[in-house]
Every structure is written in C-alpha cells, then in structure tokens.
Amino acid sequence: MSIVNKFTVRRAEITVAVVLALCSIALMTKSAQNRITWSAEENMGAGFLPFYLSLGMLICTVLTIVKFILKKSPQSKDTSAFIDPEAFKFVSVTLISLIVLVFTIGYLGIYFSLIFFLAFYLRYFSEKSISFITIFSLTTPILTFLFFEWLLKIPLPQGISEPLFYPVYDFMYGKITMPIKMIFIVLTIFLPTALVLLINRFIK
C-alpha cells in the first residue's frame, strides 16, 4: 500500500492536469478533421466550435499547471495521500467489479452478470450470511427483469443467455389472464427466498 501513500494530492494534481492537457490536444486534433474556420460567407465549419472549446480547455489546464508550479493552488501544497489505503480498497474493488460487470453484460447478459456482481460485492464488503447474499443476488435481477422488460417494455442485453428467456417471453405475452400472471410474478419474486430456506432446512 506504500504506493498509495506516496501518490500525494500534489502529484495527482499535476498528473491529472497533464492528462487533461493531452486530452485537450487530442480533441483539437480530432476537431481539425472538419473545417475549423468561420466567415460570413462560409458560415461556421463543423469543427469550429469543438476546436476552440478544446483550445479553451487546453488554456485552462495550462493555467492549472502554472498555478501548480507557482504553488498558488491548495492542491499544489498538499502532500497528504490522494486516497488513504483503506478507502483505496473500497474504491478500487468497486471500480474493478463494475468494469467486470459491464464486460460480462455483453457476453452473459445483464441478469446473470448482476447475480455474480451482487454475490461478489456483498460477500466482499458486507458481513451478511451466505443465505442473505444468495437471496439478495437472485431477487434483485428478477425485480430488474420484471421492472424493465415487463413494466417499461425496455429489453436489457441478454447475451448468450437470451434463449433461456424465450419461454418467459411466451408466458409474458401469451394468452394468460392477468391474475395468473400476477400470481406468477409474486411467486417468482419470492422463489429465491423459498429455495434458500428449503436448502437451509435440508442441510440442517
């Protein structure tokens, strides 16, 4: 964790300012692929605004760097750690798990990815029992499915798990009366809880 301690606010300030300056230059270069001139006859080129906005960004980052060199900003004098090691664990694990979540959504689909994400996250950070984590990790994707796919009619990505949902769609849009559908929804929501309780009883 010593690297975390050594990365001070001061160091972060200059690193971020330099990265932002480079990004501004990249934006200017990209904008210049379109016409960046402007005259009464030709009107404004498509690249004019993005180019000058990024130029403005570059000037701001240069000013931040100048303030840093002259030690005029509070961050330029701050030699405390940018993030303390304990908090670093929270932030980095959260970020990595989110990246893995979005990455797996493309392959496994959102619902299965959420199960793994929630199970991992709760196991890592909370002190809850395995039963609680299982119920929570299974119920949340079910509620997400019902809310988005049924109520809002917004399909979420399903990746390779898509064929598994065909029977559910058949049921959702089939000729089944609403009360039976509602009973099914309620049963589905409580299914994980019932399963976990049953398994617990069986193991005991």
Binding site: A12, K30, N43, V91, T94, L98, I110, P155, P157
Partner: protein, 508 residues
C-alpha cells in the same frame, strides 16, 4: 385572476389519482434519497429519469419534482442523526442539527427541519406563482441572440459566483460543451469527434450518461471513500410530548424562516447557485443578525430552520428560470431540463402557452408535494432511521445496478454504459481535486441549445458577433451579455479588492 384559475387547474391536475400516486411515491423516494448520505436530489433525479419514459410528461415532471422536493426535506435526517449531510444542500443543517441531537434533542432538530422546509417551500411556491407568468411573458419576446446571451450568462455565473478555482470551473464548462458537440453537426450534417470511428459516438453523448456517471457512480465512489461504511447514529425518542416540545421551540425562529425563505428563493433563481449556497448563506446571515449569534453552532433551532427553509425555497426558485427561460437554476433542474427535451418538450416560455397543463400541473404539484412531504417526513421518521441503518455495502450495489440499467435504457447501447463508467471515475477524480462537476452537467444539457442559438444568431447577423452587443437592435441581449462579461471578470478583482482593503484571503 387568470393566474389563480390556471393554478387551480394545475392543483386539480396534480390531484388526479395517477399523478397524486406518483407525487406521493416521488416524495417518499425523495425523502429516502435525501436521507441517505451521499445521495441528494440530483442523484435521485439523474438515476430515476430513465424510468419516467413510460408516463406522460406531466406525470413525469410531477414525480421528479416531488423527488427533488422530498430530497430537500430528507437531507436533514442524516445531518441530524448521523452528523453526515444527506446531501450537500443539508451541510449547513449539520452545524446546529447535530449538536441538538448530541444534546438529546434530536426530535426538536428534525421537527425544526421539517417545519422550516415546509415554510420555505410554501413561501417560495407562492413567489414562484407570482413571478413565473410575467417572466415567461417577457421571455416570449426572446429570439436566438437573447437566448444565447442568457446561456452565456448561465455559464458566467458559475465563474463569477461559483467560488471555485476559476480555470478549473471554466475547464468544467468547456468540457461539458465539447462533449455536447460530439455526433452529427446539425447544420452541416458532418460527423464530429467520432473517436476511433466507434459508431456509438454518432448519436452524440446523452446528457444522462454524464449525469448518471457523475452523480451516480462518481458520487457512490466518493461516499464509499468518505464513510467506509462507518456511521454513528444518535438516539431518538419519538412521542407526542417530544413533538409538542419541538413545535414550542420554533417560536423563536421566525426571523430565520423569513431570511431562509426569501433569500433561498432569490439565490435559487441564479443559475450557478442552487440550494447549497442558499442554505449556507441564509445560515450565515441569520447567525449574523441574531441576538444570540454566539449560541449558533452549539445547537439552536434557528440554525436548523434557516438552512432548511433556504434549501427548499431555492429548489423551487431554481425551477423558475428552467420553466420561463429554459435555463436551469441548479444541477438538478439541468437534468430536469434535459428530461423535458427527452420527453419531446421545448423548454422555455412557450411552454406556458403550448403546454399549460405541464407547467401548471408542475406548479400545482409543488403546493401539494409540500404538504405531503411535511406529513410523510414527520410520520415516517422511525422508518427513515431504519433505512439509515442499512449498511452502505448493501445499498451501494443496488445503486450501481440502477446506474447501469439507467445508463443503458435510454439508448439501449452498452457503449453508453462504458462511457458512464468512464465519466463516473473521471468525475470522482476531478471532484477530489476540486474541479466543480456541476458546470459540466449544465453545459452538456445547454450545449446543443446554445450552439443552435449562436449559429442562428450569426446567420441573422451575417456572421457578425456584434449582434450580441448592439444596444440599438438587441438591447436585452446586450445587457445580458455585459452582465455575463462582468461576472466573468469578477474573480480577477478578488485579489485587487483584498489588496486595497488589506484583507488576507482566509479572513475575507
């Protein structure tokens, strides 16, 4: 009289069962997000906006305005009980709310906060009703140059009144504007800033991606770092005797209520200000003017009432420019404004004539929401305390799930979810280094509107920028532009002022 009739229509619109149900639901969610440390109105509205696509715009705005409103009430709960502001708007509530709770008078603090919020909300919504129609009438005469000048003033207010590092504030404004130019150019039809030829950039960057990234993911990372899951809850006894005593203590807070309500409303109208500076300012002024100013900070009800009045009043105030001018008065209203565009409405004064049901439904709902939130707030205090005991490790992943699904739903593209993660992390790092993030969100919402107004103005003037500074032909645009310039150069005079009056920055 006409206004009264329209207001009555609006009240009836918001009392329709569907709208009323959404309003109460919105108040509850608002109270919840306000009470949770790390979540405020802006986070709640940003995360929830995608789910409003299935209801009509009037119902959607009533729901989101109720969330906004409820969050202003709810912020006080964690400020008092945990000593951690539920949202930045409730920072000033901690100053006296927490000491009251430590002294064992938590109920007094919570009642003072709820009543203060109610008074601030009521005064501001009356002022809103009085000011909105005439302002909208004036704004109806605005053309592209005036609209552009107004938007420049909105950006300039952040620089002049924001109080943050000036280059960093301007950077934040410019990056928001630059992000808003990504996609197809509306005039020439040419693609702009399509990085690595990824097709996802062709449809531009939806403001929600940035808003959910910064206020959902970024804010959660920030809160995880700040709290690390450790919170200390105060003890609270809830009974009628305590509530009665708490109301008795409010007799001496009349001045705080007045200052908070009126100051909050007018500060809320300013584009850069919003509820946070309004609450801090009204706390400061009430303290200065109070006979017992030395007692402030040790736990006096007036110290809770002033900021709570102000933050509710400012939240209503910030909706005034949003509805009448199409300029948001706070980050939350910036997101609401973006929502209006998504719902197919054109923000601005025309709303009053073209969509009266929407406008007056919203105004009417503010009256109703104010009442319901007060009742729900006091009645559900024990329930909110239970919610506050939920470990952050459980709440955080649920919010992440909402962010990921909310980021995906509007465009149904994983590309946007990746961008949201990037903005979330970027926003978190930048915020840690004191880059203000609210101007970026405001800019990405206003960017396309500002660009349109600029280019239309330049077509009108044959490419001359003089159109914005010509008192003879465009007096309103010129006045607004000069005010914007004054605001832009104002920070440069800070050091000179201090030199003349020999004040050190820390003392000033």
């Amino acid at each position: 009289m006409e206004t009264f009739g329209l207001l009555l229509d609006g009240v009836f619109t918001s009392l329709q069962w569907f709208n009323l149900a959404l309003l109460i639901f919105g108040c509850l969610i608002g109270l919840f997000v306000g009470a949770m440390p790390g979540l405020g109105s802006v986070n709640g509205v940003a995360i929830l906006i995608p789910i409003t696509f299935i209801v009509p715009p009037t119902a959607a705005i009533i729901f989101l305005a109720a969330v906004y409103y409820g969050a202003m009430y709810g912020g006080a709960i964690s400020s008092v009980m945990l000593g951690i502001p539920g949202a930045s708007t409730a920072v000033a509530t901690v100053f006296d709310g927490r000491p009251l709770a430590v002294k064992g008078e938590a109920m007094t603090a919570l009642t003072a906060a709820a009543v203060g919020s109610f008074v601030g909300g009521t005064v501001s919504v009356i002022l809103f009703t009085l000011f909105a129609p005439p302002l909208a009438e004036v704004a109806l005469r605005f053309n592209a140059p005036e609209t552009f000048a107004l938007m420049v003033m909105a950006f300039a207010t952040f620089v002049g009144l924001g109080g943050d590092d000036v280059p960093k504030t301007i950077f934040s404004i410019l990056i928001g504007l630059a992000l808003s130019t990504i996609g197809l150019d509306l005039i020439t039809g040419k693609p702009r800033l399509i990085f690595f030829n990824i097709p996802g950039f062709l449809h531009g960057i939806n403001f929600l991606v940035l808003a959910i990234g910064i206020y959902g993911i970024g804010e959660m990372l920030w809160t995880l770092e700040e709290t690390k899951g450790k919170v200390q809850m105060s003890k609270l006894s809830v009974n009628m005797k305590e509530v009665g005593r708490a109301f008795g203590a409010l007799k001496k807070t009349l001045m705080a209520m007045n200052i908070g309500s009126f100051l909050g409303f007018f500060v809320g109208i300013l584009p850069a200000a919003g509820a946070t500076p309004a609450s801090l300012m009204s706390y400061g002024i009430t303290k200065q003017l109070s006979k017992n100013s030395k007692e402030f900070g040790t736990g006096v009800p007036a110290g809770v009432v002033a900021p709570e009045c102000a933050n509710n009043s400012a939240s209503t105030g910030s909706m005034l420019p949003m509805l009448t001018l199409g300029i948001p008065g706070s980050p939350t209203t910036a997101i609401l404004l973006g929502g209006m565009i998504l719902w197919g409405l054109t923000p601005g004064p025309l709303l009053f004539t073209q969509e009266p049901e929407f406008v007056w439904g919203l105004i009417g709902s503010l009256y109703i929401a104010n009442f319901f939130t007060l009742v729900l707030n006091i009645a559900l205090i024990p329930a909110f305390l239970m919610v506050l005991r939920i470990p952050f490790a459980i709440l955080a992943p649920v919010i992440f799930v909402l962010c990921v699904t909310g980021g995906y739903a509007p465009t149904q593209s994983l590309h946007d979810v990746w961008l949201m993660l990037l903005f979330g992390f970027g926003g978190y790092v930048l915020r840690k280094l004191d880059y203000p993030v609210a101007p970026a969100v405001l800019s990405i919402v206003l960017g396309p509107l500002a660009e349109n107004a600029l280019r239309q103005s330049l077509i009108l003037s044959d490419g001359s920028m003089g159109i914005f500074f010509d008192f003879a032909s465009k007096p309103i645009a010129a006045i607004i532009m000069y005010i914007a310039i004054v605001l832009l150069i104002m920070p440069a005079f800070g050091p000179i002022y201090r030199k003349i009056f020999k004040k050190s920055p820390s003392k000033a």
